[in-house]
């Protein structure tokens, strides 16, 4: 039962942060709350035994994402136009949530050791990590050895994203507009 209490309070905290991020209009506060959300999510991942995921989430989600968002905020207006609660999206989100809740009833119980996911290939990876790879951290041995081509693909995705960012905001594709923007101020729409 203590697992339930820890998990439920962490997720309640996450929901509170998410709702605050939704309600606030100052984007700086929203971005900071987004970083806090990632940090609490990392704590939640530790509770769920995913220590490597928690590490990555804390470094990438709370660190790099927040830095990227702050860099963006230095170039865009820091206030959001106030909005009232819109009914159609709220209805759509609730409907999706209800459909998912119905679908979840088909899943095995949370933490059930007899669930199919734990009895198909997972035991082979756990045994093989020690005998075939010799790395004590199973996540590392799967990521870097069994599935190293997937990890290579992931690196390619990051490289592609870096190229895309450079093409979108790099100097080569927008040099004339930038010179104009500097003189008149960036609020001048072309």
């Amino acid at each position: 039962m203590s697992g339930f209490l820890v998990n439920a309070s962490l997720i309640a905290l996450l929901a509170l942060i998410a709702i605050l991020a939704l309600r606030l209009h100052r984007l700086f506060a929203v971005v900071m709350l987004s970083g806090a959300f990632s940090l609490v999510a990392a704590a939640q991942f530790v509770v769920l035994d995913a220590v490597d995921v928690a590490f990555t989430e804390a470094a990438v989600g709370a660190g790099i994402s927040t830095v990227l968002a702050l860099a963006t905020l230095s170039l865009v207006p820091a206030e959001e136009k106030p909005h009232s609660i819109s009914l159609v999206p709220a209805f759509l989100a609730t409907l999706t949530g209800l459909l998912l809740a119905v679908a979840v009833t088909d899943l095995p119980n949370f933490g059930d050791p007899k669930a199919p996911i734990h009895n198909h290939v997972a035991p082979e990876y756990i045994i093989g990590s020690e005998q075939a790879i010799g790395v004590p951290n199973i996540v590392t041995s799967v990521l870097a050895s069994y599935r190293s081509f997937d990890t290579f693909g992931e690196t390619l995705v990051v490289f592609t994203a870096a190229i895309a960012v450079l093409l979108i905001i790099g100097g080569y594709t927008r040099a004339p507009r930038r010179a104009k923007g500097k003189r008149k101020g960036s609020q001048d729409a072309g």
Binding site: N7, L27, S34, L100, N109, H118, N137, V139
Partner: protein, 128 residues
């Protein structure tokens, strides 16, 4: 422990994650501000990650790092690997999204959906 085996209470973690997902989904489709859309997308993404990690959890298990004790129960490491990749891909798409926001701000002077749509309508109206 007996409460976990109860068919109604057995899946509580999934329901909590779904509630979290609904908040993020609402932020993505309802908010006109693009920075807020991206923050909502991050919340959405993280809740999906949490669903996967919840599936990998084994009751009374420990983190999948070999302890040397044969009796140790490990949580399933495969969802963890999948989500590690997903987090990194997620931050890449976030970076591209922020770059697009900066470019939209330069072109339109606004990052609000309805402002930009109004501007585009004004541009079209005299031409037709």
């Amino acid at each position: 422990m007996s409460a976990w085996m109860d068919p109604i209470l057995g899946q509580w973690n999934y329901y909590l994650v779904i509630a979290l997902m609904m908040i993020g989904f609402y932020a993505v489709i309802a908010r006109g501000n693009m920075v807020k859309k991206i923050v909502g997308l991050n919340i959405f993404q993280t809740s999906v990650f949490m669903l996967y990690i919840s599936m990998g959890k084994v009751a009374n298990g420990t983190a999948p790092i070999l302890t040397g004790e044969p009796s140790t129960v490990y949580s399933n490491p495969l969802p963890h690997v999948l989500i590690l990749t997903a987090i990194v891909v997620g931050v890449s798409t976030t970076a591209v999204g922020y770059a697009l926001i900066i470019r939209i701000q330069e072109s339109f002077g606004s990052i609000e959906d309805d402002d930009i749509i109004a501007m585009l309508d004004d541009e079209e109206a005299p031409a037709s």
